[in-house]
Amino acid sequence: MILTKEQQAILDGEKGETLAKVMKTLVMYGDAFEAEKLVPITSKYNHLVTSFGLKVMSPVYDLMQQLLDAGVASGQKFSVDPRPLDKNVPANFLQNLVFNKFMYTKQDFYEEQLDKLGLMDKNAFTCTCYMDQVGNTPKKGDVLSWAESSAVVYANSVLGARCNRNSGIIDIMGSIVGFVPYFGLLTDEGRKATWVVKIQTTKKPEAQLLGSAIGMKVMEDVPYVVGLDKWIGNELNDSARAYLKDFGAATASNGAVGLYHIANLTPEAVELGEDLVAEGAKEYIIDDAELERVQKNYPVIWKNPDATAKLCFVGCPHLSLDQLKTWTEDIEAGLKKNGKKKVIIRTVLTAAPGVLEAFEKTEYAARLKATGVITSYICPLMYMNNPLCKKMPVITSSNKLRTYTSARYYTDAEILETITGGKNE
């Protein structure tokens, strides 16, 4: 890698041993991809993936402390993934004991570290930092040092920013020195599609199921998706953006997709069309049968597969304001249809703190509360990331949550029927 004089000086230790190690990390990381140079980060804010003060992650907090002790801070303010705990979310005595006395004992300590390192504000905890109410929305062409797989794939695909699938810790190291290695999704070549995915379903495909199918097929490659605009339109409005948020999260968690193009919809696809498709691209056709096959293949690891769900999470990644309103209307309609007043399974809708604040200002908030549904800023994945939850039958319409926990996946429509008493699984 060819470094500028300034970068070489940092690597040589002229600005201290710790900063030299940060630079060495970025150079080795870039070398693994034959990156020829480091390029400046141009986004206003960064986004970090590590939001949780898990006792077991002590090596991470030790490293952060090394950075703080050396007087090294992020050059950018940043948002960070959701908090792992929220008193609003139902938890029994044993769960609270495990959460507070065993698992998340470093939470307060780590949040203090984040504050010193450059956290945007106390509400900047969400995986959907790009929502208007949060304010970390990069511009097309911005170079980022973000982590969080769902945010990276959204920033690349829907916003047209440029970011690799950086790991936690690498994310903050980029913004400490102000540069990231130039490879992969930062380059024009790396943004070309090596798969053409043809949507041939007879109805609008479920976002998180379609994303899962594509993620598992293409792994870390870039797909160019044809035929989806028939179902979600050719305008990046609230509804399309929410769909692509959920779709992308599933491609990134069920596979390793960092960028997708949707023909006639996402910015680069609109601009460049099929010129984005690389020579020799492979083809994947998705019809109703393929989506059914994918869903049927998900393992069920509940102790009793026939158990009645005890808890339902919707909002991984966090919901948009528009989605919160739509869920409110759908739940009200479902309850009315099924002759119920409140949901029959404890249900938590999750969204960014800023989005929840905006929601609370609308008439929908009281309506949703009346259905018995709880709202929270929690990370459902972190809530479920313990053996106690393995014994608890939890349902979700998040394919990301399904991937990392024992939560069982259902489509949005199936979830709605279940929580409003239309059917018991």
């Binding site: 790991s167 810790i169 690498i170 993620g215 792994m219 596979g255 990331n385 990392y404």
Partner: protein
């Protein structure tokens, strides 16, 4: 015995027993429970990976195409190395992905006394040939012997 030649991402020499997945290795899903709750064998916790689910990973030669999933993957690998709960080596059939590369580099630069050789580009034939339980020897120059 068969030899394969790959590229050295992080250097080292080791001999270990192979565990093999032909699917992407989801680092967070595979390691999170084992690291958090003190599983000494570090059994794979990824329910979606039918080849590895429940198998011990510590001190094994992990043979894989690439890693997938959450961008916590690199820091989870870094933590595993810091805690001495890492695989003996990671052997990639494909080019290494950004998350695994981050984990390997973070461990190499920031953790004292840990060596986890990482080799990539070993090719599809490597992953077709290697089976669970085979003995793997990794040489400093990226040569991987399988027997």
């Amino acid at each position: 015995m068969k030899q394969f030649k790959g590229r050295v991402v992080t250097p080292g020499e080791v001999t270990a027993e192979a565990v093999v997945t032909k699917e992407g290795f989801n680092t967070l899903a595979s390691l999170q429970m084992a690291l958090q709750f003190g599983d000494k064998e570090v059994k794979c916790g990824d329910q979606s990976n039918k080849e590895l689910y429940g198998k011990p990973l510590i001190n094994k030669a992990l043979c894989l195409p690439q890693t997938i999933g959450s961008t916590t993957g690199g820091l989870v690998l870094y933590c595993a190395c810091s805690m001495g709960k890492n695989p003996a080596c990671m052997l990639f059939a494909n080019h290494i992905d950004s998350l695994a590369a981050a984990g390997a580099v973070l461990a190499d630069v920031w953790v004292d006394g840990v060596t986890m050789p990482v080799i990539d580009g070993l090719g599809d034939e490597f992953l077709s040939y290697v089976k669970d339980g085979m003995t793997i020897t990794v040489k400093a120059d990226g040569i991987v012997e399988v027997e």
